[in-house]
Symmetry: C2
Subunit: 110 residues, 2 copies
Protein backbone atom coordinates (compact mmCIF):
# COMPACT_ATOMS: atom_id res chain seq x y z
CA UNK A 1 0.00 0.00 0.00
CA UNK A 2 1.56 3.23 -1.12
CA UNK A 3 2.26 5.94 1.43
CA UNK A 4 1.29 8.57 -1.11
CA UNK A 5 -2.34 7.46 -0.86
CA UNK A 6 -2.87 9.51 2.29
CA UNK A 7 -0.98 11.77 4.66
CA UNK A 8 -0.56 12.11 8.43
CA UNK A 9 -2.20 12.60 10.75
CA UNK A 10 -4.49 9.56 10.43
CA UNK A 11 -5.43 6.66 12.69
CA UNK A 12 -3.81 3.21 12.75
CA UNK A 13 -5.43 0.26 14.53
CA UNK A 14 -2.77 -2.33 15.37
CA UNK A 15 -4.37 -5.73 15.94
CA UNK A 16 -2.07 -8.56 17.06
CA UNK A 17 -3.43 -12.07 17.54
CA UNK A 18 -2.50 -15.68 18.08
CA UNK A 19 -4.84 -18.25 16.56
CA UNK A 20 -6.04 -21.14 18.68
CA UNK A 21 -4.84 -24.49 17.28
CA UNK A 22 -8.19 -25.30 15.70
CA UNK A 23 -10.05 -22.33 14.26
CA UNK A 24 -13.01 -23.58 12.12
CA UNK A 25 -14.70 -20.81 10.19
CA UNK A 26 -11.84 -18.37 10.73
CA UNK A 27 -10.80 -18.05 7.08
CA UNK A 28 -14.40 -17.44 5.95
CA UNK A 29 -14.87 -14.76 8.59
CA UNK A 30 -11.58 -13.07 7.68
CA UNK A 31 -12.53 -13.01 3.99
CA UNK A 32 -15.97 -11.59 4.81
CA UNK A 33 -14.45 -8.86 7.00
CA UNK A 34 -11.96 -7.96 4.25
CA UNK A 35 -14.92 -7.51 1.92
CA UNK A 36 -16.96 -5.43 4.37
CA UNK A 37 -14.21 -3.14 5.64
CA UNK A 38 -13.38 -1.50 2.30
CA UNK A 39 -16.83 0.13 2.19
CA UNK A 40 -16.59 1.68 5.66
CA UNK A 41 -16.51 5.48 5.90
CA UNK A 42 -12.99 6.75 6.49
CA UNK A 43 -11.32 3.41 5.63
CA UNK A 44 -7.90 4.08 4.04
CA UNK A 45 -6.40 0.60 3.77
CA UNK A 46 -4.95 -2.29 5.73
CA UNK A 47 -1.92 -4.57 5.81
CA UNK A 48 -1.72 -8.03 7.29
CA UNK A 49 0.96 -10.64 8.02
CA UNK A 50 0.90 -13.93 9.90
CA UNK A 51 3.85 -16.15 10.76
CA UNK A 52 2.64 -19.76 10.32
CA UNK A 53 1.81 -21.12 13.76
CA UNK A 54 2.67 -17.76 15.30
CA UNK A 55 1.67 -14.17 15.67
CA UNK A 56 -0.58 -12.32 13.25
CA UNK A 57 -0.46 -8.54 12.87
CA UNK A 58 -3.10 -6.57 10.99
CA UNK A 59 -2.84 -2.80 10.82
CA UNK A 60 -5.85 -0.91 9.45
CA UNK A 61 -5.71 2.78 8.58
CA UNK A 62 -8.54 5.27 9.09
CA UNK A 63 -9.12 8.92 8.45
CA UNK A 64 -10.11 9.49 12.10
CA UNK A 65 -10.39 7.57 15.37
CA UNK A 66 -14.16 7.96 15.08
CA UNK A 67 -14.13 6.13 11.73
CA UNK A 68 -12.17 3.26 13.33
CA UNK A 69 -14.58 3.21 16.26
CA UNK A 70 -17.58 3.03 13.92
CA UNK A 71 -16.11 -0.06 12.21
CA UNK A 72 -15.58 -1.66 15.63
CA UNK A 73 -19.31 -1.15 16.22
CA UNK A 74 -20.41 -2.59 12.84
CA UNK A 75 -22.99 -5.33 13.45
CA UNK A 76 -21.31 -8.15 11.50
CA UNK A 77 -17.94 -7.09 12.79
CA UNK A 78 -19.21 -7.28 16.38
CA UNK A 79 -20.31 -10.88 15.76
CA UNK A 80 -16.86 -11.67 14.34
CA UNK A 81 -15.14 -10.03 17.30
CA UNK A 82 -17.27 -12.03 19.71
CA UNK A 83 -16.55 -15.33 17.93
CA UNK A 84 -12.87 -14.41 17.74
CA UNK A 85 -12.71 -13.76 21.44
CA UNK A 86 -14.59 -16.97 22.30
CA UNK A 87 -13.13 -19.36 19.72
CA UNK A 88 -10.48 -18.34 17.21
CA UNK A 89 -7.92 -16.37 19.17
CA UNK A 90 -5.95 -17.75 22.08
CA UNK A 91 -4.74 -14.19 22.61
CA UNK A 92 -5.11 -10.77 21.03
CA UNK A 93 -4.54 -7.10 21.67
CA UNK A 94 -5.62 -3.88 19.98
CA UNK A 95 -3.85 -0.54 19.95
CA UNK A 96 -5.32 2.67 18.55
CA UNK A 97 -2.64 5.11 17.42
CA UNK A 98 -2.25 8.35 15.50
CA UNK A 99 0.29 8.23 12.67
CA UNK A 100 2.34 11.41 12.81
CA UNK A 101 5.14 10.73 10.33
CA UNK A 102 5.95 8.24 7.58
CA UNK A 103 8.54 7.46 4.96
CA UNK A 104 9.40 4.70 2.52
CA UNK A 105 12.09 3.66 0.08
CA UNK A 106 11.41 6.62 -2.17
CA UNK A 107 11.17 9.29 0.54
CA UNK A 108 13.76 8.01 3.07
CA UNK A 109 16.85 10.16 3.61
CA UNK A 110 18.93 6.94 3.22
CA UNK B 1 3.62 -9.06 24.88
CA UNK B 2 1.28 -8.01 27.65
CA UNK B 3 -0.48 -4.67 27.43
CA UNK B 4 -0.06 -4.24 31.17
CA UNK B 5 3.68 -3.74 30.68
CA UNK B 6 3.21 -0.09 29.76
CA UNK B 7 0.46 2.46 29.27
CA UNK B 8 -0.46 5.06 26.63
CA UNK B 9 0.68 7.40 25.41
CA UNK B 10 3.79 5.78 23.93
CA UNK B 11 5.30 5.54 20.44
CA UNK B 12 4.78 2.72 17.93
CA UNK B 13 6.99 2.33 14.85
CA UNK B 14 5.15 0.30 12.21
CA UNK B 15 7.62 -1.19 9.73
CA UNK B 16 6.16 -3.09 6.77
CA UNK B 17 8.45 -4.80 4.27
CA UNK B 18 8.59 -7.21 1.39
CA UNK B 19 11.76 -9.30 1.09
CA UNK B 20 13.50 -9.55 -2.24
CA UNK B 21 13.54 -13.13 -3.55
CA UNK B 22 17.12 -13.75 -2.50
CA UNK B 23 18.18 -12.09 0.75
CA UNK B 24 21.59 -13.45 1.83
CA UNK B 25 22.59 -12.30 5.31
CA UNK B 26 19.10 -11.11 6.18
CA UNK B 27 18.43 -13.61 8.99
CA UNK B 28 21.78 -12.86 10.64
CA UNK B 29 21.13 -9.11 10.50
CA UNK B 30 17.61 -9.55 11.89
CA UNK B 31 18.92 -11.64 14.80
CA UNK B 32 21.65 -9.09 15.52
CA UNK B 33 19.14 -6.20 15.52
CA UNK B 34 16.82 -8.14 17.86
CA UNK B 35 19.76 -8.49 20.24
CA UNK B 36 20.78 -4.83 20.02
CA UNK B 37 17.36 -3.23 20.27
CA UNK B 38 16.49 -4.55 23.72
CA UNK B 39 19.26 -2.47 25.28
CA UNK B 40 18.17 0.82 23.70
CA UNK B 41 16.93 3.58 26.02
CA UNK B 42 13.14 3.77 26.02
CA UNK B 43 12.65 0.43 24.25
CA UNK B 44 9.41 -1.18 25.47
CA UNK B 45 9.08 -4.22 23.20
CA UNK B 46 8.32 -5.35 19.67
CA UNK B 47 6.14 -7.80 17.76
CA UNK B 48 6.82 -9.28 14.35
CA UNK B 49 4.98 -11.38 11.77
CA UNK B 50 5.80 -12.41 8.23
CA UNK B 51 3.59 -14.26 5.79
CA UNK B 52 5.87 -16.68 3.88
CA UNK B 53 6.65 -15.10 0.52
CA UNK B 54 4.65 -12.04 1.48
CA UNK B 55 4.46 -9.01 3.69
CA UNK B 56 6.32 -8.65 6.96
CA UNK B 57 5.12 -6.32 9.71
CA UNK B 58 7.25 -5.41 12.72
CA UNK B 59 5.90 -2.99 15.30
CA UNK B 60 8.32 -1.70 17.92
CA UNK B 61 7.21 0.24 20.97
CA UNK B 62 9.07 3.14 22.57
CA UNK B 63 8.59 5.42 25.51
CA UNK B 64 8.94 8.51 23.29
CA UNK B 65 9.38 9.43 19.62
CA UNK B 66 12.89 10.64 20.55
CA UNK B 67 13.79 7.15 21.82
CA UNK B 68 12.61 5.64 18.53
CA UNK B 69 14.57 8.26 16.59
CA UNK B 70 17.74 7.48 18.56
CA UNK B 71 17.45 3.79 17.61
CA UNK B 72 17.04 4.78 13.95
CA UNK B 73 20.37 6.63 14.30
CA UNK B 74 22.23 3.75 16.00
CA UNK B 75 25.42 3.04 14.02
CA UNK B 76 24.92 -0.70 13.43
CA UNK B 77 21.24 -0.14 12.77
CA UNK B 78 22.09 2.48 10.13
CA UNK B 79 24.27 -0.08 8.34
CA UNK B 80 21.41 -2.60 8.50
CA UNK B 81 18.94 -0.03 7.16
CA UNK B 82 21.28 0.81 4.32
CA UNK B 83 21.80 -2.86 3.38
CA UNK B 84 18.06 -3.45 3.70
CA UNK B 85 17.26 -0.63 1.35
CA UNK B 86 19.92 -1.71 -1.18
CA UNK B 87 19.56 -5.49 -1.00
CA UNK B 88 17.03 -7.23 1.21
CA UNK B 89 13.80 -5.35 0.75
CA UNK B 90 11.99 -4.98 -2.55
CA UNK B 91 9.72 -2.55 -0.75
CA UNK B 92 9.23 -1.10 2.72
CA UNK B 93 7.51 1.68 4.61
CA UNK B 94 7.78 3.12 8.10
CA UNK B 95 5.08 4.89 10.10
CA UNK B 96 5.69 6.61 13.43
CA UNK B 97 2.56 6.76 15.57
CA UNK B 98 1.44 7.61 19.08
CA UNK B 99 -0.60 4.91 20.81
CA UNK B 100 -3.51 6.59 22.56
CA UNK B 101 -5.68 3.64 23.63
CA UNK B 102 -5.37 -0.13 23.93
CA UNK B 103 -7.29 -3.18 25.07
CA UNK B 104 -6.97 -6.95 24.97
CA UNK B 105 -8.96 -10.07 25.78
CA UNK B 106 -8.94 -9.30 29.50
CA UNK B 107 -9.84 -5.61 29.25
CA UNK B 108 -12.18 -5.62 26.23
CA UNK B 109 -15.84 -4.72 26.88
CA UNK B 110 -16.76 -7.83 24.79
Amino acid sequence: MSLTDFHPPYTAVIFTSTLAGNAPGYEEMAARMEMLVVDQPGYLGHESARTPGGLGITVSYWRTAQDAQAWKGNHEHLLAQSAGSRTWYSDYSVRIAVVERQYDRSTSPH
